[in-house]
Amino acid sequence: MDLPREDLVAYALGGLPAEETPRIAAAIASDPALAGELKQIERHLRLHERTPRIAPTPELWDGIRSRLDETGAPRSLLRRFRLPLAAAALVALAFVWPQQGATARAATLFGEVLERPDGVFAATGVARVRTAGGVTMTLDAGTDFRLESETRLALGAGRVFLEVPPEASGFTVVAGDLVAVTTGTAFLVESGKPTFVWTESGHVRCSWRGRERLTGPGEAFFASDSPPPPLPPSPRAWFTRPAIEAETPDAQTVRVTLRNGMPDPIEVAPSRSGEPVFFARYLGHDFPLVPDDFRPVTLAPGASRTFDLRLPRPIPDGEALVVSYARGGVRAEARR
């Protein structure tokens, strides 16, 4: 064996960077002794799946929270951008928007949009925002932007789907060197490599480094000199998330149903960092919900799955409970 055994263990644990694994995989494929040793290592490592995991009790956070007060936590400047519980219920309606007026500079319809100290706004999940000018922006998780005026948005990272009514004339999006000016249209802008504009309906005037083009429905404009990469079927579909419903059959249980309305299968599983699949918000706290016997499941397109999750504390009668699916940025409300 010319491959160090420690590389073999690292390979079995998936701890190496992606660029190193082909070399090790090739060595294993060409050496039956290495392949046999790898099997032994993997067999041993599987034994460790038998060790128990423990879950934090709700009292732990209470203890931390009470001691934070000793240090006098400053009041958050971001409070006005928090997701109100009432808005969470809107998410369950999946893209059915309320006709409420947006009197602020931008109103969060659902999701969470935060303002950082440097004035940049950032979406921590899929979020929908409407400006006072009536432009609706659907922001993917991780998108950040600056609303420079009622009619101008500077996109720093991520992607935004914009729906601009005819009366919002001349709405402009700037993403790096790319400028998109539009009216009466729906289009997507993604800041990336390359940055591009993708028009769903209406027309968008795009310019980049002296190149200018008016794009129509289904047309894209790439801020790149290279051939454009393929686009998925619909920009709007990129923001679709599984639908979620919740009910409380008893005070200690919440029944959550996830339905995959997307064209591709989705995996319902904790994140690599161990983030639970679901959270429940009630009694003023977010509680991670970790089913003891939970196993990752794959939901085919159109399939649904119901999970009965035990709550750490009973829900008082009349209390609203909001369940969120952590990986999809969707929430549903149930009430006792």
């Binding site: 034994l47 060790t51 128990p52 423990i54 879950a55 934070l68 998780a141 994140s271 161990g274």
Partner: protein
Amino acid sequence: MGSGTGRDDRDDQELMARVQAGDVRAFELLYARYAHPLLNFFHQMCFDRAASEDYLQETFLRVWRARASYRPIGKVSTWLFEIAKNFWFNEREKIRRRPFATGAGGDEGQAQLSLVPDQGGAAPADAARAREIGDAVGHAVAELSDKLRAAFVLARYQHLPYAEIGQILGIPVGTVKSRVALAERLLRARLGSYLEE
């Protein structure tokens, strides 16, 4: 478009920015995200649920106090595990190790210790056997030295990349590799009888 992991970290960075601004709600979300892995990290290091809960609380209080010193140059999870590891190594002299899952001393975590993943609807005899194996694995891990155990726990139980483990433990990746490989060899030798099943 970032990978899922990249997006997780971007979300973490957003949360940390809010935490730095003193947003308790963001801190609660950060806690909700990392309480589970960090609690289990401590539990895998000391096998004492009550102590693990204390360490978790103390770690998050340190995080809160140290929030101004956080710089978004690395992953938030690495920073959290680094604080947890430092706390653990500072406290380890005070730890009285308990045998795994014996229930001695009225460990309140006993109920949780009986939860064995992946046994599904196993028959009672199978469940007892699974628990026995889980206990044996826990004993074997407990017998590793602190340094080997920390590296192995982060790699096997927390599924962290070696580069990140190196940052957390303050050692080169090559040292991570050798520690994890040595731990694996020692554990495999101790658990040999269960591997023959």
